[in-house]
């Protein structure tokens, strides 16, 4: 049963050329990759494009995954790098933080409360520098501190420091808005 096979095994099988394993792998990682991309970019369209690029690049990249780390960790790193590349490209077009100001986000937030929340979120995410935002995007969802540290190539202590830094800034924003 494929269902019970974990991602690491799927990834190794896919790297060996097992087509069904690759299909199962991409099916299972699509949603979480899309979610992470969204949290990194703040735009649905960009998240979709990023996920698309990532997944079609995966067949070439998979052989590089040797199974020393968990596949999810590896995938986070690949995703993060792709997001950074993307961000750089955007920066050259001088719209670095456009994503979190996307009208799409506002339009979706129909309910008044959600509008407030999204508004606050946009303000908050925009106010954070890239490195803090990346750390948040990783840790607030799936990754453990240790994993985030591994992905970002920093120590676990730095992850904790970044989070408390982010907390400070968020608190400041909150006090500003109240």
């Amino acid at each position: 049963m494929r269902m019970t096979t974990d991602l690491d095994q799927l990834a190794r099988a896919a790297a060996r050329g097992d087509e069904a394993a690759f299909a199962a792998l991409t099916d299972r990682i699509y949603d979480r990759t899309f979610g992470l991309c969204f949290r990194l970019t703040g735009s649905r369209a960009e998240a979709e494009d990023l996920t698309h690029d990532l997944l079609i690049a995966l067949p070439r990249k998979l052989p590089l995954y040797r199974g020393q780390s968990r596949f999810t960790t590896w995938l986070y790193r690949v995703t993060l790098n792709a997001a950074h590349d993307h961000r750089r490209k955007q920066a050259t077009r001088a719209r670095a933080h456009d994503g979190w100001g996307d009208v799409e986000l506002m339009r979706r937030a129909e309910a008044a409360q959600r509008a407030d929340e999204a508004d606050w979120l946009t303000t908050a995410m925009r106010a954070l520098p890239d490195d803090l935002r990346d750390t948040l995007a990783l840790t607030l969802d799936d990754a453990t501190h240790a994993e985030a540290a591994q992905v970002l190539g920093i120590s676990e202590g730095t992850v904790s420091w970044r989070l408390s830094e982010a907390r400070k800034r968020l608190r400041a924003i909150m006090e500003d808005t109240q």
């Binding site: 096979t5 099988a13 060996r16 699509y30 968020l170």
Partner: protein, 644 residues
């Protein structure tokens, strides 16, 4: 203001994260698969077959994998209970991750945590769901060791500002797609008092979808939802050895009575209708339009791949003069295969193999296109039929199911029939399937296995595709001098008004070549202690003297020749006699009807339960060449274990 801003950010991020667009998702997955096979054909030619990944549970993340698998096998309400258990379990896993500040030196080791939760998914095995639902407080922790470890870990990790873990926010637990199945809601037919309401009218039903859904539920280890149980479809799933009609009649009717298995004071009136089976060589040429749902959700193994295999099986049954066309609908509808003679097997097979899932569903457009194709193909003396295969999504796009029903009803008069094949679970819109097939002069079947595909599309191809009688209606008038009360078992969604019987404009079910239809009434003879109602004190007493007959009732049946607009009438009196030729057949039908009522939680079956149904059915298996009846007994046994 002591709230942690990170919590707010987390919840805001979660609610802002959009659900992935299924069309986009499917497109990306397809592109990735293409990329993969290209990459592999370039670099890995000649490499040995990779071993299949083994399903053994890895040391790390085994919890998540196990939890996911468990959720995948649980029904929605079961999952709800299980997540209660997981919330408690998840707490110890995720609290360290969300903890404030540097990691605590006395954090429990991974081994400890894994150890503590290892047993947890087993705490609520799927089989005991109902039990767990009744006693939710018991569910989270039944293993004493797990309990003590959880307590211990909480002391370690439960810092003052450790955020509460919210299971509904955990993406691992959210992976389970929402169950959006829809079943028609219909209350069981009530007991009628013969003096008040002596006439019962209904349309025949040759659908079998309900039995397929019940089987798929039971095989997945859960009792089916009550509204999914349509007793007439269960009874009619099985072939019965009713004597075939003679001298050119379209069908024969057989009425028999027997003792009710679940009530000593009542009798069952068993009405069996057997359609004629014209020699297969004589059948008219057939025009088939496969209308195939290729939306993203169809990619599961039990959907599009099973559908492809099923159609391949069916193709072998077609004759060279038959024609096949394929229309797919997903996002936009399109013709995949122009009308092609069945003799061009390889062309048709290639078209079937090329079908891919992706995109959202545009049912209406697809239907319009399919009917247009069918009309284009039809010629004098041929039978045209649209075969709709879907996992349930019809209604993306312009139109409501009601408008589609309307569309299909209009097309019905053009002479094109419609069959609906349901695939897969989770999103099955049984109610719409049923309504569409009913309005389109067709049948609805649910295909859960290749065997079922064989039964529906190969063994019963002739019956499924060649109507021998249209708009078959049954009306029974009971004699108040003999029968005090009666109740029609099943057919809730097929009840007609008394005046509809003689009105040829009113649509009803169709009978295909060789189909048999069975209907069962439970009747209470006058003077039986099992009566549920009392005589009225002030009403005039039933004038038994007027009708000097020992007939229990009178059966009338109307049907039209295929394509005809006026109906013919067949009449048979119902007497207390039981037809000895039908002995085992009526007993088996009664066992299935009883089984269905127990599944529905009927008030009429009393203490009679699954065990009695098993005993009755096992004794009436008779000649069962394909093993359908033996399978029914196995399902009853499964249901019995699941219900306990």
């Amino acid at each position: 203001m002591t709230r942690d801003p990170l919590d707010d950010l987390k919840s805001a991020l979660h609610s802002a994260t959009p659900r992935p667009d299924p069309a986009r998702r499917a497109a990306t997955l397809r592109a990735a698969a293409t990329e993969f096979s290209q990459e592999n054909s370039l670099t890995r030619q000649g490499s040995a077959d990779a071993p299949r990944p083994t399903p053994d549970r890895p040391a790390k993340w085994g919890l998540i994998a196990g939890v996911k698998q468990m959720l995948a096998t649980l029904p929605a309400r079961g999952a709800l209970t299980a997540t209660t258990a997981l919330a408690a379990v998840g707490l110890i896993v995720l609290v360290p991750a969300l903890q404030d500040g540097p990691p605590s030196p006395i954090r429990p080791s991974t081994e400890q945590i894994v150890e503590a939760v290892k047993d947890a998914p087993d705490v609520v095995p799927p089989v005991h769901l109902d039990l767990a639902l009744e006693a939710p407080a018991m569910a989270p922790v039944t293993s004493r060791s797990a309990k003590s470890r959880i307590a211990a870990t909480q002391t370690f990790a439960g810092g003052a500002n450790a955020p509460a873990y919210d299971a509904t926010r955990d993406p691992a637990l959210q992976k389970q797609p929402e169950n959006t199945e829809a079943f028609p809601e219909a209350d069981p037919n009530p007991v009628k008092v013969t003096t008040d309401d002596p006439v019962s009218t209904f349309s025949v039903d040759v659908d079998t979808a309900s039995y397929g859904v019940i089987r798929s539920s039971l095989m997945a280890g859960v009792l089916p939802p009550r509204d999914a149980v349509r007793i007439e479809e269960m009874v009619n799933y099985f072939p019965y050895l009713y004597p075939a009609p003679t001298d050119g009649a379209a069908f024969s009717t057989h009425v028999s009575t027997l003792q009710t298995p679940w009530n000593d004071g009542t009798q069952l009136v068993h009405i069996g209708i057997q359609g004629a089976l014209p020699a297969v060589e004589d059948r008219p040429p057939l025009n088939l339009v496969f209308l195939i749902d290729t939306s993203g959700s169809m990619q599961d193994a039990d959907k599009l791949p099973l559908l492809k295999q099923s159609f391949r099986l069916m193709l072998s049954q077609l004759r060279p003069e038959d024609e096949v066309a394929i229309v797919a609908y997903a996002g936009s509808a399109g013709t995949i295969l122009k009308p092609t003679a069945a003799s061009e097997r390889s062309t048709i097979l290639t078209a079937i193999d090329a079908l891919q899932a992706g995109g959202s569903t545009a049912g209406q457009q697809g239907l319009e296109l399919a009917y247009a194709k069918a009309e284009e193909m039809s010629a004098e003396g041929e039978v045209s039929r649209v075969i709709l295969a879907t996992d349930g999504d019809f209604n993306v796009g312009l139109s409501s199911p009601r408008a589609m029903e309307q569309f299909i009803s209009d097309k019905r008069d053009s002479g094109t029939y419609l069959s609906v094949l349901g695939f897969g679970r989770g999103n099955l819109d049984d109610a719409t399937m049923q309504a569409l097939a009913q309005n389109g002069n067709g049948t609805a079947a649910y295909i859960d296995t290749l065997q079922e595909a064989q039964k529906v599309l190969v063994d019963q191809l002739t019956g499924a595709l060649f109507p021998i009688a249209d708009d078959v209606k049954i009306q029974v008038e009971f004699n108040p001098a003999q029968i005090a009360e009666y109740r029609l078992i099943g057919y809730e969604t097929r009840i007609l008004n008394r005046e509809d019987f003689n009105n040829d404009k009113v649509d009803a079910g169709d009978i295909g070549a060789g189909h048999s239809v069975t209907a069962i009434y439970e009747v209470v003879p006058v003077g039986s202690g099992a009566r549920l109602t009392d005589d009225l004190r002030y009403a005039a007493p039933a004038s038994a003297s007027d009708v000097q007959t020992d007939e229990w009732g009178y059966l009338k049946l109307r049907h039209k020749a295929p394509g005809a607009s006026t109906s013919t009438l067949i009449e048979t009196p119902i007497t207390a006699e039981s037809d000895a030729r039908l002995g085992g057949e009526t007993a088996f039908a009664a066992a299935i009807a009883g089984f269905g009522q127990v599944l529905r939680g009927s008030v009429h079956t009393g203490d009679w339960g699954f065990g009695d149904a098993i005993a009755l059915a096992s004794g009436a298996i008779g000649d069962d060449p394909f093993g359908y009846r033996a399978e029914a007994v196995r399902l009853m046994r499964l249901a019995q274990s699941l219900a306990n």
